[in-house]
Symmetry: C2
Subunit: 485 residues, 2 copies
């Protein structure tokens, strides 16, 4: 395919994508296919000779679309939102066209420099303390990671290296292996599984800190486990606070936890993967109070800020801590100039070496929506979640299971877990809307997450009427079959 054909086909693809997104409501949100559906539809091996674009293009509707879960359908209420917007799609086209690999400043200066400045823009939008910004000569700064999992892992590894060095300088008789054996990381029992995974990768212990009745970790809970572990000779080194847990969007108490971490010399990382985008609204910024105690902070514009995946924003107060985790050579650490001023080599901030020009997406979205446009998007989602909450509360058969703070509603039928599992199954089998469940303590709970950029009040009303009707149908037969159990 030459440039001339690309002009033609590219424009057809633009129209296809526009059509797909404009008419996505008409597609069934969850596919009908069974595992293994695709293999029989394609050849056994790649063709020897080139096929035409038309041939490939017609297979999109024939082979791909029947197996797509439509994340941008206004009837998709599962997981968390996956951001998507037209400015971000345009920026990604440009990113692909430029096709540079920005692992160092010299590999494409614009790629590195726009990223640093965009992370400053975004940091200011959520009113991060100055120390987290790169500015012209700051010690901190931001980076785009692929995912919150990577951000958590990077933070944990940086904390691990920092702590090992500190302990070694205080107690030179201890080997690195002995220190590693005593390190402990902490996170809420409500934290995302990626925190436990980071500890597994980093080969350090991790312990759950019990959350309270509101699924929140408070200072006393952390203090208690720290005291026990220190008494047992362990070395607490890392705490991952969650703002907006995956299950129910609860918030750990940063203002209590931060001072404890600072006093105990524990790296505090904040995972606000979903909730972080809401902090651009002044009325929700208080949820981030206490970030001033943190060493690193992360949220995903690719979840809720209309920037297509992948764009996970991470900030640190001391970039030298991150870089130090991967570059252990003393020689390197002497070159403070390289990483404290104008030249940033982002390869030292991340797991992969290569990196795309992802800041273009932020640049396009922040400018073409403006802060106000993005605030409007966040506020609409939160209005809609309260609308759904209100509908649930009006129905005595149902209960709300956790405070609705942002765009997630956790609810269930009053009754057994089996009943609620049956309700979810009937919802997802009908395939008119799509939800996923969670466990809150022993309770099986349905999560209703406001996801699509184009979801409106009518979709919420439809979803509730549908759920309510399915509940009615279910309770009829359930009453007959399960009454005596």
């Amino acid at each position: 395919m030459d440039a001339a054909e690309f002009r033609k086909r590219g424009k057809e693809m633009v129209d296809y994508v526009a059509d797909y997104l404009e008419k996505i409501e008409k597609r069934q949100v969850f596919p009908d296919v069974e595992p293994g559906y695709l293999r029989p539809l394609v050849a056994d091996c790649a063709p020897q000779d080139p096929e035409s674009f038309e041939n490939v293009f017609k297979d999109i509707e024939k082979i791909i679309m029947p197996g797509v879960t439509h994340w941008h359908s206004p009837y998709f209420f599962a997981y968390f939102p996956a951001a998507s917007s037209f400015p971000a799609l345009l920026a990604d086209m440009l990113c692909g066209g430029i096709g540079c690999v920005g692992f160092s400043w010299a590999a494409s200066p614009a790629c590195t420099e726009l990223e640093t400045v965009m992370l400053d823009w975004l940091g200011k939008m959520v009113n991060l303390p100055e120390e987290f910004l790169a500015g012209k000569d700051g010690q901190g700064g931001g980076v785009i990671q692929g995912s919150a999992s990577e951000a958590t892992l990077i933070a944990l590894l940086a904390a691990r290296t920092k702590t090992i060095r500190q302990v070694q300088s205080e107690k030179p008789e201890l080997t690195e292996a002995e220190i590693m054996g005593r390190l402990v990381a902490y996170a809420s029992d409500q934290a995302h599984s990626s925190v436990e995974r980071a500890a597994l990768i980093g080969a350090v212990k991790i312990k759950n800190v019990p959350s309270d009745d509101t699924f929140t970790v408070c200072g006393s809970a952390l203090k208690k486990v720290l005291d026990e572990d220190k008494a047992a000779g362990l070395i607490p080194f890392f705490f991952c606070a969650t703002l907006g847990t995956t299950s129910c969007c609860s918030f750990d108490k940063l203002l209590e936890l931060g001072p404890i971490c600072n006093k105990e010399n524990i790296w505090m990382h904040i995972d606000a993967a979903y909730a972080g985008s809401a902090f651009i609204c002044p009325e929700f910024r208080h949820l981030l109070n206490g970030v001033e105690f943190a060493d690193s902070f992360n949220f995903n514009p690719h979840k809720w800020l209309l920037v297509n995946f992948d764009c996970s924003a991470m900030w640190v107060k001391k970039r030298s801590d991150l870089i130090g985790a991967f570059k252990l050579e003393p020689l390197y650490l002497q070159h403070h100039h390289q990483e404290s001023g104008l030249v940033t080599d982002y390869r030292h901030w991340q797991i992969p070496l290569g990196r795309r020009f992802r800041s273009l997406k932020l640049w396009f979205v922040l400018r073409m929506y403006g802060v106000k446009g993005l605030q409007e998007h966040i506020r609409k989602h939160i209005r809609l979640s309260h609308q759904f909450e209100h509908l649930v509360l009006q129905d005595e058969r149902f209960e709300i299971c956790a405070e609705v703070v942002l765009g997630l509603v956790c609810f269930r039928l009053k009754g057994s877990n089996e009943l609620n599992e049956a309700l979810l199954k009937s919802i997802n089998d009908a395939k008119k809307i799509h939800l996923v469940p969670c466990h809150l303590r022993e309770k099986f709970v349905l999560r209703f997450a406001i996801c699509s950029r184009t979801v409106e009040s009518t979709h919420i009303k439809f979803a509730w009427q549908h759920i309510s009707q399915l509940a009615t149908d279910l309770l009829k037969t359930w009453g007959q079959n399960h009454h005596q159990q």
Copy 2:
């Protein structure tokens, strides 16, 4: 921006990208900007109100392009190629439009299933042993990682977990920390820095295996270091063989190394990040002989197979080894059905949780080029590298520093490192072409990598004439200034 405006702007962007790539020769391959150039050109913070597309669009040429290193210019001979093709750009547009997050089968079945099948296609193209393919009920299979660094890390972590379990079952008196303290990974002294980094992240020792005069690791070198380490009570567990080293594209001797690793129960991972694409040509496939001894194999279609970044293809013989590295619960490991047959949850195969629909790029490229078209691309690059090699060999002032096997030529002026550093500086200062250097033992060497999809014989001739002229100029003054030194 609504769908109607996206149709308009998307088509403008298609034309912009087509223009950029068609006329890229006219742009200076390496930018003139100094560190910090970009910040003064943009606002201090994001705008409150939306800006127009026109406003943003005109800033591409004004702010971004002056700082771009043009990786797809036919005058770019630095690093390794970054793949780019029109079919891949089209597929990425579709990927962005669909915008699903394919962390599990259910999150978008097509995303998971196409990936599994495409990795089978690609595996067959390089004639991988059957064990590495998923097929309908294989124990192996492929996955798209973001980068070779991630593939190496994942392989090392899988090997670590597997070895710890084995050792624990044989010697239950050893703690996990004690075992960890004895584990050793190995790689060539020519291996990519990401291997050392993987060991650093995984908190295990790593040792260099000395390469020979041709920068190749042979069996006896590995055997020697293994014997020493085992005698010292260490536990060798992982060897990363390199096919196509970054410095000079040398190849470790798999047929000697593989049987040693198998006998010693050491996980052999093959990093063929750059070279792997060449194995689709039968005349280069012999370089991969010995892969049958490996546990995992990786190469980057996003380097040399015309699939835009990121698309790093990784295969394993036993998918349960990968999954086991991240999911330690015995309960999980009992569910063999989940991961041995039709349902694959790729989140267990990688570091991040989220993942884009990257297999679309492979599907578009493999079909629209066909195997023959891709072979042609590889062969053209290798012809051009030999053309450059030939030109270097005809000039007595220069020497070739390593065998030219694929698309990389390592060369230098006969003389001191200082002289060659000065030559490279004069080349990169002139900015007509762009190269990067490497060290081969004590020698400072210039790397001439065939990179662009559109590079032709005329560009090679131009590059050589340019280098040759700069050398002549340099040697004139160098003779005067350095003759007596």
